[in-house]
């Protein structure tokens, strides 16, 4: 026994070791930093989501304005419509810009890696912390710095460039009168936060794996985070320098992108998407990692095609660097370039398809349980399948030209970014919630919320495929009446989905107040984070774990009932100490006095 739990007082964990605001903001504990990330990310999810609901509300009805051409096929269509917009035109443009910028930079990119990854990655590795705990806290401070820049942007003149900051609109004070410099500064700082987290994870995974955990014995969530970290470290600097160039042009009129100053506006798009396309994989690959964990745990079965899934994450990370040009199919990029980028883009489909098939094969002959996290896991497979398949329309040049910059694209990337990445994030929260809070939530409420979110999501975004294919351009405040039925359906769907999120939030908050104490392993997970108490002690484990098998061995587990959860024979020492020091028998008041009867 290498590491006795002697130093720990009974019932000690990372949440109660020290107390007070100061103990949190100066903490070096990866779990606390992860929890702080989680709270911040969820707060901004609420802000970005509110903007989305405001946008959808505006789009309920088209407006009759002087700009509406009068001689149209749809004669007289607008006479019954209101003449007033709900929001001023500039306000609307700011709403969709900030919705996008907040959701991308403040929510999805940090969501799984920085919050769940921070909490879980070291525990999955059986380590005490990440490789550089101080750098980790600094990443969080930088994230907060970035969010402050965005809040200042919001409080001053806002931002109306679209989250993509296309030049010359964004780089000239003549065109955008909003606080572009503050927002790009924010994105710049957030980029560094992201780079440092990626670097930290890379070093941690390389150097801190426990004895016996070879690369191909690593849980797939770690493979996903590893692939993500590579992209973060390699791609984000390009965004940084691009945004700096934008700031320099805007502030000092140095011509880089604005043709009036001798620059090239399309150059910006190349630079921007050289980061932002790989960033799509920063968002989705961790989600795939979470989905892999959920599907294997709740099928109680080893993941099918482990190596293929692991390597396809890395494959996606690499191919992701070669396809940025498909965002520029209509940008006056040459036909040859378009052809090459179309060809390369198709190769994204292969690792994606492989993953989906492997998840399905994992379900085959499994013992499938439909607890809340698994519903998100299954929703992920369905929504990612739709998001992925509709990507084929965009990779194929002939159809892509028509669908480019329409609601079809909007629907496609929401299926991938929200339906997949964010759903996996929410599923991951529900999966690891008992672990890092030590509380069980109401599984029934959680499941109802998951179903509402799934239905609401499809109700919101599926109609957008239809109107997009019919030619409805994106970023439009006003539109022709022929598109109204789809906009209406989409808006009602978004309201329904919002109630699902409110209910999911309520389920989690309620568990903090009234939830039962969580056993170490409530779901029967096989990875290391389930072999330590919930919530884990400050240094994660009583004994440094030793690995002797692939990560998803469910054969050694015994179910001891809802209060005690699952026990893994391989980690018998850990279990005995948990019984001795934590109330896992579910008999007492939770301060660790139970002499457990967990065998």
């Amino acid at each position: 026994m290498s590491h006795e739990p002697n130093g720990y007082p009974p019932g000690d964990n990372y949440l109660n070791r020290t107390k007070g605001f100061l103990s949190w903001i100066t903490t070096l504990d990866h779990k606390r930093i992860g929890v702080m990330y989680l709270c911040s990310v969820l707060f901004f999810f609420l802000v970005g989501g509110t903007f989305a609901i405001m946008l959808r509300t505006e789009l309920l009805t088209p407006k009759s304005t002087t700009q509406m051409p009068q001689d149209t096929n749809y004669k007289g269509q607008h006479e019954d419509f209101p003449q007033k917009f709900l929001f001023e035109k500039d306000t609307y443009n700011q709403l969709f810009t900030l919705h996008g910028a907040i959701m991308v930079f403040l929510v999805i990119i940090p969501s799984i890696p920085a919050s769940l990854g921070n909490i879980i990655l070291p525990i999955m590795l059986g380590a005490k912390d990440v490789a550089f705990p101080r750098l980790n806290l600094w990443s969080y401070y930088l994230y907060i710095g970035g969010t402050i820049c965005f809040l200042v942007t919001l409080a001053t003149t806002g931002l109306d460039t679209g989250w993509t900051f296309y030049t010359p609109y964004s780089s000239s004070v003549e065109y955008s009168h909003t606080n572009v410099i503050m927002a790009t500064m924010g994105a710049f700082i957030l980029g560094f936060s992201s780079i440092f987290t990626g670097l930290n994870f890379l070093v941690t995974i390389h150097t801190m794996r426990p004895a016996g955990m070879t690369w191909f014995r690593m849980p797939l969530f770690l493979w996903a985070l590893y692939a993500t970290s590579i992209i973060q470290v390699l791609a984000t600097p390009v965004l940084g320098i691009t945004l700096l160039m934008l700031i320099v042009e805007r502030a000092f009129s140095i011509g880089i992108f604005d043709p009036k100053l001798g620059g090239d506006p399309v150059l910006f798009q190349h630079f921007f998407w050289f980061y932002s396309h790989p960033a799509v994989y920063i968002m989705i690959v961790p989600g795939m990692g979470v989905a892999s964990e959920l599907i294997t745990t709740f099928s109680r079965k080893t993941i099918f095609g482990y190596r293929q899934i692991a390597l396809s994450s890395v494959g996606l990370a690499l191919i992701g660097f070669l396809v940025w040009g498909h965002h520029l199919f209509t940008s006056t990029q040459s036909n040859i370039a378009n052809m090459i980028f179309s060809f390369l883009t198709f190769f994204v489909a292969i690792p994606s398809a492989i993953k989906v098939f492997n998840w399905l094969a994992t379900l085959y002959k499994g013992s499938i349980s439909f607890q809340t996290p698994m519903l998100y896991g299954l929703a992920f497979i369905i929504l990612f399948t739709i998001g992925g398949l509709t990507g084929i329309f965009h990779a194929t040049l002939s159809t892509s030209i028509h669908l480019h910059d329409t609601y079809f694209v909007v629907a496609h990337f929401h299926y991938v970014m929200m339906g997949s990445a964010l759903i996996a994030f929410i599923g991951g929260i529900f999966y690891w919630w008992p672990k890092f809070t030590g509380k069980l939530y109401s599984d029934n409420l959680g499941r109802i919320a998951a179903v509402i979110i799934f239905i609401g999501f499809n109700g919101t975004f599926f109609p957008q495929f239809v109107m997009g294919a019919k030619g409805m351009p994106r970023r439009y405040q006003n539109y022709y009446a022929e598109y109204q039925p789809y906009h209406r359906a989409s808006t009602y769907g978004s309201y329904f989905m919002a109630t699902g999120f409110v209910l999911a939030g309520f389920t989690l908050l309620q568990s903090l107040v009234r939830g039962k104490k969580a056993p170490p392993n409530p779901w029967g997970g096989a990875t290391l984070e389930w072999q330590t108490p919930s919530p884990p002690p400050t240094e994660n484990f009583y004994h440094t774990p030793v690995i002797d098998d692939q990560p998803y061995n469910y054969d050694r587990q015994t179910y001891l009932g809802p209060e005690k959860g699952w026990r893994d024979d391989h980690y018998a020492h850990e279990w005995e100490d948990m019984v001795a020091h934590h109330d896992i028998a579910g008999t007492g008041n939770g301060n660790g006095q139970t002499n457990g009867n967990g065998h």
């Binding site: 002087t66 001689d71 096929n73 052809m339």
Partner: protein
């Protein structure tokens, strides 16, 4: 002339896609539907397998063990890696072939110049010199080539019926072509929407244009000649109103008193130093100005020189220097006089 009166009642042929305005549109639609059914097939197959497994292998007792099953299968894994690869390469190939049709115009084309600026289109006919404003008239069954540029930010000409779009970029010329198809028996002009598909600021969603397709080149030429004549012969007030409608003024300046992105034209003419404050963008100083011919001409050519107090500074309005002739500017001024401060009420609801 109100073209909608002659426009055929065009119904889209399919649930998913808009009206097909050209042969190329029909070709891309074949692709769309091929990919669509491929998607449906895979989606249904994947969902069916998922649901079947979920029902068949659901956990009935809390500690139910899974059935014995292999954890990997090289043949199966190879099959589902290679099969999608082949499908994708095939799709790439056909997509690229039709894309060439979409992008490469035939050698002989009918050329039209396009200028995009916030927030209107201007279609110009280099052969006749006609300046058509935001409605694009073309002959059917003729390859039309648009040579496009922007005076400010990036715009994008999008004609859903032609299944094509191309960015309109400042500082360079981009090209796009289409060949509008005329169904047999159709003898009246067809009308399609033109959108701006690249976000360009305040009124991006209302940067609308129209495409009118004339059945034959002769019809088109007749229209063109009549249009040139009618613009030439228009009295100044009507010319001014035409400019207001077709050259993008309408997007921001109402003529019924409604507040827009810019000041309304109703009651503008004749404002005096008592009620008209303007601001100079460069110096930031504010001073009263009488609205007269000189002020209007200056504002059209240099929008930033004297911006009405209370409106955005710098002004989002593009300069119309060189875009409008002296005759047209004169027309605008005469038109504004008719809806000026002391003018008799005009029926203004457009």
């Amino acid at each position: 002339m109100n073209w909608a009166m002659f426009a055929a009642d065009l119904a889209p042929k399919s649930f998913w896609l808009p009206v097909q305005g050209s042969e190329v549109a029909a070709e891309t639609d074949v692709h769309f539907y091929f990919i669509y059914w491929l998607n449906v097939f895979f989606f249904v197959a994947i969902s069916a397998v998922l649901v079947y497994f979920c029902v068949k292998y659901r956990r009935k007792t809390p500690d139910q063990k899974p059935l014995p099953a292999p954890s990997h299968n090289t043949v199966l894994e190879l099959v589902w890696s290679i099969l999608p690869t082949l499908v994708c390469i095939a799709l790439f190939y056909v997509g690229f072939i039709v894309y060439q049709d979409l992008m490469e115009p035939p050698p002989e084309t009918f050329k039209i110049n396009v200028v995009g600026q916030k927030w209107s289109w201007n279609f110009k006919y280099p052969r006749s010199g006609l300046d058509g404003g935001n409605i694009l008239h073309v002959p059917a069954n003729t390859p039309i080539e648009l040579t496009m540029t922007s005076t400010d930010v990036i715009h994008c000409v999008y004609i859903p019926a032609m299944r094509t779009k191309k960015d309109v970029v400042p500082g360079r010329y981009s090209k796009m072509w289409f060949n509008a198809h005329m169904p047999t028996g159709q003898t009246t002009p067809l009308e399609y929407n033109i959108f701006c598909a690249e976000y360009c600021g305040t009124s991006h969603s209302e940067m609308w244009g129209k495409l009118i397709v004339h059945p034959t080149m002769d019809d088109f030429k007749k229209w063109e000649a009549a249009e040139i004549k009618s613009i030439d012969l228009k009295p100044p007030v009507e010319l001014g109103k035409w400019v207001w409608e077709r050259k993008g003024c309408k997007g921001c300046h109402s003529i019924d008193g409604t507040k827009g992105t810019g000041p309304t034209f109703k009651g503008l003419w004749g404002m005096t130093t008592a009620d008209h404050l303007v601001k100079n963008y460069s110096t930031g100083s504010t001073r009263p100005v009488v609205v007269d011919e000189n002020y209007l001409k200056e504002s059209i050519n240099e929008p930033n020189a004297e911006i009405r107090d209370g409106f955005p500074s710098p002004s989002p309005m593009p300069s119309f220097k060189g875009q409008l002739s002296d005759k047209q500017i004169n027309g605008v001024i005469e038109f504004l006089k008719t809806i000026g401060k002391d003018a008799p009420p005009v029926p203004t609801k457009p």
